[in-house]
Amino acid sequence: MTERGSRWPHALATIVAAVLGSLFLLFIAAPLVGIVTTGGAGGAGALWHDAELRQSLWLTAWTATAATVLGVVGATPVAYLLARRRIPGGAVVAAVLDLPLVVPHPVAGIALLLVLGRQSAMGGALYHLGLRVTGSPEGIIAAMLFVSAPLFVSAARDTFERVDARYEAVARTLGDGPWRAFRRVALPLSIRGLAAAGVVMWARAVSEFGAIVILAYNPRVVSVLSYDRFTTTGLAGALPVAAVLVVCALVVLIVLRTLSGPRLDGAGRA
């Protein structure tokens, strides 16, 4: 009786968890599957004869990649410092870095426009240097970077925090300066976590719409193109574009997640 009494709550919890998990997966997958099943055939055809869609896909891919590279290079040191050092006002810095995740993305676009638009001091200076941010791939990259880099910083910071600082302490006593210890120890031990963070950032950059549409409606990335097709030709025009984006993103994410693989750090604990 006692044994049965202890087994039933466990079985019930398992069933409830399975049902809730399935509902959640269904909630995420159903719209995406719906897009692919409804617009997949049209999307495959569009890929063949729709030059604008192909250009848009390529533009989305390379601008998201460029934004990710810039984000990884620029944000990794910030994430490392936030993880390792007690910086005065570190909480404020972290909050500011998280802010783009909270503000509505059109607001982010407006903020970027204020700073990088031709009428602004910085935007004007960049324009005179031959760099036009609004209505250009550079603007798209800026918008993608602004909204997706905080995700990278957050994930990279967690990654560095999970690597025990004593690895670097040992490296320091073995003759490494701070930068060398970072390069030879902290970075290799964090590399897979950083790669995973980069994947998340890239994925977020690909899906960005709100900030891009304010800063650079043209040239059109896929998110803007699908919106444009929806407003001009309706659902029938937007579905193939959306289906192509979903399938391409899924393939890329599977490949990147596979390459990221399991984490290395912590394996050296005795």
Partner: protein
């Protein structure tokens, strides 16, 4: 040589306060302390991983207080090996080594050369610790800092690792500072012992000094003294009646009567009248079934309360008018004396075996 002068440092909730001690050139220093005493904080401060807030650290005669770890000519080995998991065993040992020849020689000394290209994750705990020691030694440090390097090992592996380290130490004669919570470690390895508690040095000296003359009841108990009695001390000088032991006036030590509970025992020491503690090591107390006729000053009749068998030695608890003493006798003697709970015995110990603090 390691010299610390009034060093204060902080790491989270752990802090060091006014830490001062010396470990001579080529000596083996042991820092002993309970968990939370600040032992690792001390090592990391000496290593330069934690900044010094006040005070000075000199290594090999040079002031290194403000130098970064990589310029202090030392190596640090933690309790957990912290081998770099993305490198092979040999790459780990070679990490800070100055030349390949040293890597090979040190790997041989620690018996890990056969592990060469193996991945760190495939090593046992003992192998990891040996590789970590080899990695530290391959750097050819002038000072080696060890943070409980043997604590996580099984007794057999611990003995092998200790032997390998000891052999290398005798050959190279770098200065060592090892932290441990086990006083026996100090007796086995140390030339200098430093007892740390709450980030402060309670006592520093040779392990024998800490063992024989602990500065406080806490230290006495920490180093394994089983008879720590609190009571009142009263110097009685050389005028004590029927005094037969040396009063050692030349060292300014006097005969002292120490009253604890219902008994008064005699000691030799330099104490002011008033509350004090008497420390008597269990090994110093002899048991007999009749009053001894020897010159032993302190002899107390009592009854055996319990026996604790531990191989060749048996610890016997004796109740003397409400005060309990623990005596360590050979198991053979315990058998010959017929010791058992309730048996009447006489516990005897010399006045010189009583340390007052």
């Amino acid at each position: 040589m390691i010299e610390l002068r009034a060093v204060s440092a902080r790491a989270g909730r752990f802090a060091l306060s006014d830490v001062t001690f010396d470990v001579p050139q080529g000596a083996y220093g042991i820092v002993i302390g309970a968990a939370g005493a600040g032992k690792t904080t001390l090592l990391e401060t000496i290593a330069g991983i934690l900044p010094v807030q006040r005070g000075a650290i000199r290594l090999g005669g040079d002031d290194v207080t403000r130098l970064p770890p990589e310029r202090r000519r030392l190596s640090l080995v933690y309790q957990h090996a912290f081998l770099f998991p993305h490198l092979t065993v040999r790459e780990n040992i070679a990490y800070g080594a100055l030349d390949a020849e040293t890597v090979d020689r040190v790997a041989d000394e620690f018996g890990v050369s056969v592990l060469g290209d193996r991945a760190v994750r495939d090593l046992s705990g003992g192998e990891r610790q040996l590789v970590a020691l080899a990695r530290a030694i391959a750097r050819r440090p002038e000072v080696l800092l060890l943070d409980e390097p043997f604590a996580a090992l099984d007794p057999r592996t611990r003995a092998a690792a200790r032997r390998a380290l000891r052999a290398t130490y005798y050959e190279r004669r770098f200065t060592v500072l090892q932290v441990t919570h086990d006083f026996n470690e100090a007796g086995i390895l140390g030339d200098v012992a430093i007892l740390l508690d709450g980030g402060r040095v309670l006592q520093a000296g040779t392990p024998e000094e800490l063992f024989q003359k602990p500065a406080s009841p806490y230290i006495a108990e920490f180093v394994g003294a089983e008879n720590v009695l609190s009571g009142m001390a009263q110097p009685i000088g050389a005028a004590a009646p029927d005094w037969t032991e040396t009063t050692r006036h030349e060292t300014e030590e006097f005969a002292v009567a120490f009253t604890t509970g219902a008994i008064t025992l005699y000691a030799i020491g330099d104490v002011v009248p008033g509350p004090a503690h008497a420390v008597i090591r269990a090994e110093e107390i002899a048991l007999s079934v009749a009053a001894a006729t020897s010159s032993v000053r302190n002899q107390f009749p009592g009854r055996v309360v319990e026996l604790s068998f531990a191989g060749a030695i048996t610890r016997v608890t004796v109740d003397v008018s409400g005060t309990q003493f623990v005596a360590a006798v050979t198991t053979r003697s315990a058998r010959e004396l017929g010791l058992a709970p309730g048996v009447a015995v006489v516990a005897g110990f010399k006045a010189t075996a009583v340390h007052l603090c």
